[in-house]
């Protein structure tokens, strides 16, 4: 029953946060306000859903609660793909493709690289510390490579991607909002339909194989879904490293259940709640423009440190 009440409470909190976001400080024509803020709210909720689901699923695949796709360098990988695209096609070429095709190409690069790199890494994964550190250093490598590519690109075209290197929740490219929202919801439904299988996979590779789940194959498919979700969130707001960890730690703490039927929706609701509420707080109440991402990141980073330090000494 704890799980049900957690879900209901998180849902209510999210509804309140959304209302506050839409109404606080709004002046003038309501239709216009709703249209303008509504689209951004959808984008925020999409990001929250994508981050929450990708984190929960990834943690199940890795059988570990400290790993998240962002910590393993997924976000950085997406940005690298973005720069790679501008580098090979030139800025004009990319601009000519339009937002949808570009996003499609970036996501394709991302899917391929993620499967190649992390498919093998996850299979090998015995030593968690080594795996996390490898992921973090991969992240550093991807970021440095992105910087390198950006410098190789003509400085005039550099401005095109420069803005993407920073997480920003208040300036979402509008063209992508609806298609990414649709994609994310679709992936979410697919994941929810597999929630029982995810419960089994959380037991680990050997245990799920004994129970008849083709772990390797499912891992590949789920990893692809994770990569897709990370592409969505990174394309919309840029890299966010520790938000997912914050959400997953909260969800596990509040749910009191190991069932993905609870964990997946609860983490999504919590993520939406945190994101929309803090955006409302910082933008409308404190009038601090750009710092939501930074604050959420710092909080998540602290959670990460606490988790590492508290980890059982096995």
């Amino acid at each position: 029953m704890r799980a049900a009440s957690a879900l209901i409470l998180a849902g209510l909190a999210l509804a309140v946060a959304c209302l506050a976001y839409l109404s606080l400080g709004a002046r003038g024509d309501w239709g216009f306000v709703l249209m303008f803020r509504g689209a951004r709210l959808v984008a925020l909720l999409t990001v929250a859903l994508a981050v929450a689901l990708s984190t929960m699923v990834f943690q199940t695949l890795a059988a570990n609660r400290i790993l998240t796709p962002a910590i393993m360098g997924f976000d950085a990988l997406f940005l690298l793909g973005q720069s790679l695209l501008v580098f090979t096609l030139s800025g004009v070429g990319v601009a000519a493709l339009g937002a949808y095709v570009t996003f499609g190409l970036e996501t394709a690069v991302m899917l391929l690289a993620a499967l190649l790199l992390f498919g093998t890494l996850l299979r090998r994964g015995q030593d968690i510390s080594r795996m996390i550190l490898t992921g973090i250093v991969f992240g550093i490598l991807f970021r440095s490579l992105t910087q390198l590519l950006n410098r190789m690109i003509d400085p005039n075209e550099f401005t095109m991607i420069q803005s993407a290197a920073f997480a920003r929740f208040n300036n979402v490219p509008e063209g992508l909002t609806w298609i990414t929202a649709g994609l994310t919801v679709a992936v979410g439904i697919w994941l929810m339909s597999k929630h029982r299988q995810l419960d089994v996979m959380a037991l680990g590779r050997a245990a799920s194989m004994t129970l008849g789940v083709d772990h390797d194959r499912q891992t590949r498919r789920l990893l692809a879904a994770v990569a897709l979700l990370v592409s969505v969130s990174t394309a919309l707001v840029g890299p966010i490293v520790f938000f997912g960890l914050l959400v997953s730690a909260l969800a596990h703490g509040l749910a009191g259940s190991w069932r993905h039927a609870v964990l997946l929706p609860l983490s999504a609701l919590l993520a939406g709640c945190i994101l929309v509420a803090s955006q409302t707080l910082f933008e409308r109440v404190l009038h601090l423009q750009t710092s939501v991402a930074v604050v959420i990141e710092a909080l998540g980073g602290l959670v990460f440190l606490a988790m590492i330090l508290r980890r059982r000494k096995t």
């Binding site: 030593d127 510390s129 080594r130 996390i132 550190l133 490898t134 973090i136 250093v137 991969f138 550093i140 490598l141 970021r143 440095s144 490579l145 910087q147 390198l148 410098r151 190789m152 400085p155 490293v241 601090l288 423009q289 750009t290 710092s291 930074v294 604050v295 990141e297 710092a298 980073g301 602290l302 990460f304 440190l305 590492i308 330090l309 000494k313």
Partner: protein, 307 residues
């Protein structure tokens, strides 16, 4: 043996020569002015920063007793950055040496806190140390970014966090000599750092004042890092790549290897800077970016090769 000993300095000299004659403006006779104002200082800055950072890396590794740490994976550089941002907010007009001092103090506090954290980690899992350090540095960096973002200082944070030598000119880099001096000071205490690397108990058995040597090491590391961050920006992984390379080749008796570490660090940074100047001529790629790529690859190899 003598030949081998001469090879490293000779290679450094050669690199320095190449560095002086590499750049956007083609040199002609009578351009001594350009060499004196820009090329020579730039070359000196690369050599000094590289040598000092490599030495700082070795000392960190001895103090933390872990081969994966260096100023950019222990929050030292980020703490220094946070220090400058803070002092710039409080006293924007302060003299450069004041800012430098603030950065050093911040780096000192930040690194001391990191070492205190490390002592709480289980010894059996050495990878937890850099892991904690990187995230800890990330949090300090986020704090710096947060402060800077709201006060429009973000471009400065970029300059401090991304090492670049293209802005080095006569009159703008001289603080780096202090970093060089600190590296030499480290050499005077080389034996003691080697013993500290064997652990607190061994140090005590050998009659060493362990807390004092740790404090001294921290001071040297923080000073070197702060000076580098303020003058040319953070250059990552020098202190990781070089000491590990030298340790494989020549061991870790610092009395013997510290000069090699310093020379290799100087050579590495200078070589990367030259590479950055020619790779996308006439544009320049910051030395910090090149070392970020190179260092991360070496780090990954270190992590996964030794199995």
């Amino acid at each position: 043996m003598t030949l081998g000993r001469l090879a490293a300095p000779a290679a450094l000299l050669l690199l320095a020569g190449v560095s002086i004659f590499t750049g956007v403006a083609a040199l002609q006779w009578g351009d001594l002015w350009l060499i004196g104002v820009s090329r020579l200082p730039r070359t000196a800055a690369a050599l000094l920063a590289g040598a000092a950072l490599a030495v700082a890396g070795v000392i960190m590794q001895m103090l933390a007793r872990n081969r994966f740490v260096e100023p950019s994976t222990t929050g030292t550089g980020q703490a220094a950055g946070l220090g400058i941002v803070a002092i710039t907010l409080v006293a924007p007009a302060a003299a450069l040496w004041v800012k430098m001092a603030a950065a050093t103090v911040a780096a000192l506090l930040g690194t001391a806190l990191f070492l205190a954290l490390v002592r709480r980690l289980p010894r059996r899992d050495p990878l937890l140390v850099p892991l904690t350090g990187i995230v800890y540095g990330g949090i300090l960096g986020a704090a710096a970014t947060f402060l800077a973002y709201e006060r429009d200082l973000i471009q400065y944070v970029d300059i401090w966090m991304n090492g670049e030598l293209s802005g080095v000119m006569l009159g703008r880099y001289e603080f780096l000599w202090a970093a060089g001096a600190l590296a030499i000071a480290a050499y005077l205490y080389a034996d003691r750092f080697t013993i500290a690397g064997m652990g607190e108990d061994t140090s005590r058995t050998l009659g060493l004042d362990y807390p004092r040597i740790v404090a001294l090491g921290l001071l040297i590391v923080a000073g070197i890092t702060a000076v580098t961050v303020v003058t040319v920006g953070m250059i990552p992984f020098v202190g990781l790549v070089v000491p590990n390379m030298i340790a494989r080749l020549a061991g870790e008796n610092l009395r013997r290897t510290l000069p090699q570490v310093a020379m290799a660090g100087a050579g590495l940074v200078l070589a990367c800077d030259i590479l950055g100047r020619v790779i996308r001529y006439p544009y320049e790629i910051p030395v910090g970016t090149i070392l970020g790529v190179l260092g991360a690859v070496v780090f990954l190899w270190m992590l996964n090769a030794r199995r």
